[in-house]
């Protein structure tokens, strides 16, 4: 048992981080919530002190020139597209990343370090540059089209660029390491002799994967899914470059409200809804992991 004073001293170690987050993250978030609840000023900025929920109403309804309110799904569609694209990205990074993580975990320790180093190499290049490279690859008559047509697989350009497909490819590419790393970390601690035990007890490869490996690295899988899903929801650069103006995501919408539309309260409201979605995803993780922890007690 540790005494109360020891506990206090230990908490002291965390104080710099706690202060930093409270002041520089909690503070701005409170300001954001406040901004979302006041009236907009015509040239951007807000009128402090005049409270209204207009920003949240605007999310669901639009007002026409006659002052009548009608239900509007435009913004919800952008949110749904973001959720759908992020969900797809989670799935795609999992399908590609899980075998990769398993392969790395099964190498000898020195080789593992090298492979993890290779995995982190793309981070050395700016995200903007990497997405711009995809723009060149995916554009009409770009490298992808040329290769496919050269191999007689397709006869005309695919026109992938500026579609949801292009965004999905870009997001999957950008966030793949964030799936591989936590899954690998869990995999490294996983006792692979359990797989032999499963084989010995009559489980074939698929059964061993489903009943032994997945539950064994469940924490890593959930962490990887969240690490991909959350930043994906708010991603900005990839949809701007690869999605063009047709395929907006939440991040682009928020940015537009603060700049072109000069509607700060609405931008803040959109950001707050995004924050609620992230919190819900984190809560889901806690629920998923709690079942396991309870049984492990």
């Amino acid at each position: 048992m540790i005494s109360a004073t020891q506990k206090q001293r230990r908490f002291g170690l965390a104080m710099p981080a706690v202060l930093f987050i409270a002041v520089l993250m909690g503070g701005p978030m409170l300001i954001m919530v406040f901004v979302s609840l006041v009236e907009r000023a015509p040239d951007g900025g807000v009128v402090w002190g005049r409270f209204t929920t207009a920003a949240y109403t605007q999310f669901f309804y639009e007002e026409n020139l006659l002052g009548e309110m009608s239900f509007n799904t435009d913004y919800m569609q952008i949110y749904l597209r973001s959720i759908y694209l992020s969900g797809f990205t989670v799935l795609a990074t999992f399908v590609v990343g899980f075998p990769t993580a398993m392969y790395i975990a099964m190498q000898e320790p020195r080789r593992r370090a090298l492979l993890i180093f290779f995995l982190s190499l793309p981070f050395w290049v700016n995200l903007l540059v990497r997405n711009y490279a995809w723009l060149l690859l995916l554009r009409a008559n770009g490298l992808l089209d040329q290769v496919l047509m050269g191999l007689w697989i397709t006869s005309e350009p695919l026109n992938i660029l500026y579609t949801n497909t292009a965004i999905a490819i870009g997001l999957t590419y950008s966030f793949l390491p964030l799936m591989v790393l936590p899954v690998y970390a869990a995999m490294e601690k996983f006792d692979f002799s359990l797989v032999e035990a499963a084989f010995d007890l009559g489980a074939n490869r698929v059964q061993a994967l489903l009943h032994v490996i997945f539950p064994g690295v469940k924490g890593g899988i959930i962490a990887g899914c969240l690490l991909v899903f959350i930043p994906c929801l708010g991603s900005y650069v990839t949809p701007v470059l690869l999605g063009g103006s047709k395929s907006l995501m939440i991040g682009n919408l928020i940015q537009a409200q603060f700049s072109a539309a000069r509607n700060w309260p609405f931008g803040a409201a959109l950001a707050f809804v995004l924050l609620l979605m992230v919190i819900m995803a984190a809560a889901l993780r806690a629920v998923l992991l709690r079942g396991r922890n309870r049984r492990e007690l």
Partner: protein, 357 residues
């Protein structure tokens, strides 16, 4: 040859299980872990693979389980070659050295795992699991998690999990090595009882010769991937085939002997051993077959003695130059002897065992 054996009804395949000329070399190495190993194993027997670490006994077990496909050779189960059959299709189960219980599953779900993989109904699974848990006396633990259990209890669960599948062959890879001495002794008896009650063929791997002698119906002594000797424990102990077996199983004194003009073997100093022999040989005498007594034909000086309660163990350097022998004797009959004393040593010719030199 094979046909002749078949006609005589001596077909090799009549064995329940036989590993036939197994050789194995791990990829990227040039050492043969197993070298032309042939093991016939009978149904319902407690068969032990015994040898020092690195002798290939665990590899042999992995070949039987299906985790390794040997470089050459066959494994015949009921006359059928199973070398190419994957582990999940073999009627063989293993108790692993580290138990390998699934940490995310309750004891019940661990024990029913093999039955679930085979698609048995819930009722059948629970019945088999309860039987298996009753066999290892852990009926009340069904809802616990493996981490709640002690090492000895986890061991029993691993055993129940394997037995619930009703295997034709149960493989045990040094299952007792992680337990403390008292628990190990207890589990030895338990394993023996369970083997008798279930009538399952056990193949047990150990480096502990005492454990092997206590539990086995037959023992195969292995060394560097080759078989040294197979036989019942008493054969292995009393009539070792090679000096390696003599040295590895129990303590033994190996003394060089030469044939004399009378057709009997003599020690270097001329002492008549009382056994016939025409060739130079090594003579094995167990420490308990030697005795310090005033009328013994051998003489020597006590170099060391270790008192351990009921028995005392002496190291006596023989004066004829044959070397130092170990003697184990009831403490009551040796009181008063101390290091440096001059003693006479007697032996019973019937307890000598002659090995080729």
């Amino acid at each position: 040859m094979a046909i002749a054996m078949q006609l005589l009804g001596l077909d090799f395949n009549l064995s329940f299980l036989s590993a036939d000329m197994i050789s194995h070399q791990y990829a990227g190495t040039d050492v043969k872990v197993l070298n032309n190993l042939t093991l016939p194993i009978h149904e319902n027997e407690f068969f032990t693979l015994l040898g020092p670490s690195g002798c290939g006994k665990t590899t042999m077990l992995r070949v039987l389980a299906g985790f390794e496909v040997p470089t050459s050779g066959r494994v015949l189960l009921d006359g059928q070659d199973i070398v190419k059959i994957p582990p999940w299709k073999r009627p063989v189960n293993t108790v692993f050295q580290n138990y390998a219980l699934f940490p995310h599953l309750s004891i019940l779900r661990n024990v029913t795992f093999g039955l679930r993989m085979r698609g048995l109904s819930r009722a059948e699974r629970h019945k088999a699991a309860n039987e298996a848990l009753a066999l290892v006396r852990l009926e009340d633990f069904v809802n616990r998690m493996p981490s709640d259990l002690s090492g000895g209890q986890q061991q029993r669960v691993a055993l129940a999990r394997a037995l619930a599948c009703k295997p034709r062959l149960l493989l045990l890879d040094e299952p007792l090595s992680a337990l403390d001495y008292k628990l190990r002794k207890e589990m030895q008896g338990e394993l023996k009882r369970i083997q008798r009650e279930t009538g399952t063929t056990f193949v047990f791997v150990t480096h502990d010769q005492e454990e092997a002698l206590a539990m086995s119906d037959r023992i195969a002594v292995m060394r560097q991937g080759q078989l040294e000797q197979v036989g019942p424990p008493s054969d292995i102990y009393d009539r070792p085939a090679t000096s390696f077996v003599a040295g590895f199983i129990g303590d033994s004194n190996l003394l060089p002997a030469v044939p004399g003009a009378d057709g009997r073997l003599h020690l270097a100093g001329g002492v008549d051993l009382g056994v016939a022999g025409q060739q130079p040989a090594q003579v094995m005498i167990r420490p308990e077959a030697l005795k310090i007594s005033p009328d013994g034909p051998l003489s020597g000086r006590v170099a060391d003695l270790v008192y351990s309660g009921a028995a005392t163990r002496f190291s006596v350097t023989l004066e004829d130059g044959s070397g130092t022998v170990q003697i184990q004797q009831a403490s009551a009959s040796t009181s008063g002897i101390s290091v440096g004393d001059h003693v006479s040593v007697a032996f019973d010719p019937k307890q000598l065992w002659v090995l080729a030199a």
